[in-house]
Symmetry: C2
């Protein structure tokens, strides 16, 4: 069984662990959002790629959901003592090595796709991780701060401001056509079906769908999405703030309709959302809590059954 999943960070990564647990023999390719990526201190940082890699490679901090387990924060503390304006970014000491090595490899001329494969050679995530693109594309958020309208990097909005500044717009900034990374369209083409995990529908899945050709490739595929919204609230994260920015209600129904039957064939919602309808899409309700690996695997089975 060949599965392709689009994914953002924590929610997507946890769901994919369930997929692997339920279907250990499946050939899984994950197309990961890189719109959250940023360059800090000259280091190329790819939060979603790292979260998926650490989660599937058993290096993740389970409690936090991102970054390395058994982490320390000494460099970060020192950066604050130096008065760095970006000391708010969660730069763990062990995690730092990933950014250092990635930057070293990229300065050596490797593409992000190649670097990701090299880093995964250590982590053995049991899946092929592909960045959505090898080009630079960064999600910027338009906010009003101190009476000034301005665009800030998604990370600054998300981490420094905890998404508390209302987003007037969320824009994926890139130059020219945003091309998919090598292998992305081929993987979708070869897949038996495509899963949209309960990742952020705007800044994770929504960003991946902006890459040229990906949305079009999904139209011809069996695609099943898993709602990141349960009973009108995001399971975790601040997806509501992102949905507000694009004028979509924070509900399983609204998100399902936002993806639409263009893309979706099936939409999995929580039992709290029984009765949700999305025209042209088969909707099923099952418990969507990823409290442990077994419940997550059950969710994955429900999604695959629907596909």
């Amino acid at each position: 069984m060949r599965i392709v999943a689009l994914a953002g960070g924590i929610g997507g990564a946890r769901f994919l662990r369930g997929v692997q647990h339920a279907y250990p023999d499946a050939e899984l390719t994950v197309v990961v959002n890189t719109g959250d990526d940023t360059t800090l201190y000259g280091l190329r940082i790819c939060p979603d790629l790292d979260t998926v890699m650490y989660t599937l490679g058993n290096g993740i901090d389970e409690e936090r959901g991102w970054g390395r387990q058994d982490e320390s924060w000494r460099a970060k503390e020192e950066l604050a003592l130096y008065g760095s304006p970006t000391a708010w970014f969660g730069l763990g000491d062990r995690d730092l090595a990933t950014h250092l090595r990635r930057t070293q490899l990229m300065l050596g001329g490797q593409s992000l796709t190649e670097v990701t494969a090299t880093l995964c050679a250590r982590w053995q995530p049991g899946a092929t991780l592909l960045p959505m693109t090898d080009s630079q594309a960064e999600t910027h958020v338009t906010v009003v701060e101190d009476g000034q309208r301005k665009a800030i990097h998604f990370q600054e909005w998300w981490i420094k401001h905890h998404a508390a500044l209302p987003a007037e717009a969320i824009t994926l900034v890139h130059h020219g056509d945003l091309l998919p990374a090598p292998g992305v369209l081929e993987a979708v083409e070869a897949a038996d079906f495509v899963l949209l995990p309960p990742s952020n529908p705007v800044v994770s899945i929504g960003t991946v769908l902006q890459v040229k050709g990906i949305r079009e490739a999904l139209v011809d595929k069996r695609v099943v999405g898993v709602s990141p919204i349960i009973g009108g609230a995001p399971v975790r994260g601040m997806a509501d703030a992102c949905l507000a920015a694009i004028g979509v209600e924070t509900s399983a129904e609204a998100v399902g309709r936002h993806y639409g039957s263009d893309i979706l064939d099936g939409w999995l919602v929580d039992t709290a959302d029984v009765g949700v309808t999305v025209p042209g899409v088969e909707v099923r309700a099952v418990p969507l809590l990823m409290t442990d690996l077994e419940t997550t695997a059950a969710m994955a089975r429900a999604a695959v059954d629907l596909a």
Copy 2:
């Protein structure tokens, strides 16, 4: 009293702490070697500037002589697990923040001189630290490895190979005239005298002396040097390997004569080296062991007396 000192890393920094202890009211400017500087993982790393800054700012690891006290090495351990070819470099977790912040400031357009002042605002070293130059200039060492003659970066020779590969040449690689950083020549001009601490005479002091105008500026000044060689051996470090590369014997007399009366007015040697003569230079013998702050301050007093 206005003092200028040229300096490399550990030996120079310790000596300067003695100078500050003996003369707390002196106005001290330190012109620091930057030939050891390197770019790793995209980060600009300035080992000698950091050693002087940490030592005079009470952040140094006393035992090791370089890097931060209470250091941890988690990022470095992870880099080795990623198979980074530069994981031999001593990158401490706390120390990393200095490189990150420096790189951030330099990417923001600041010169190394400006960045150094910004970093020192935190450390308060009680002296003005100036890089010898704001231009890029790196010490490369020509070695023969596996039958191949090649130039490698000084850090690779010094740290990875422990200076055990014989150096056929030591070259400061730069483009065009290597200009002094702003304030360097002015500081020398304004100084009552100049001290050459017991730093490496080839890759530390010798490198600073290659900056355009510095050697010439010293000719007109009272200059007193402190021998880094005692009884035919370097007090610490591997200066002998560097001296061999330039055909200078590892002795207090040979190093004094290498600097020469052109530059030197006084040459301070250890009591083990009584009898050393350097034509045209006043030589004095005093105990040169920097075992504690008091003995180091006594050394500094002897140097200042000679000046």
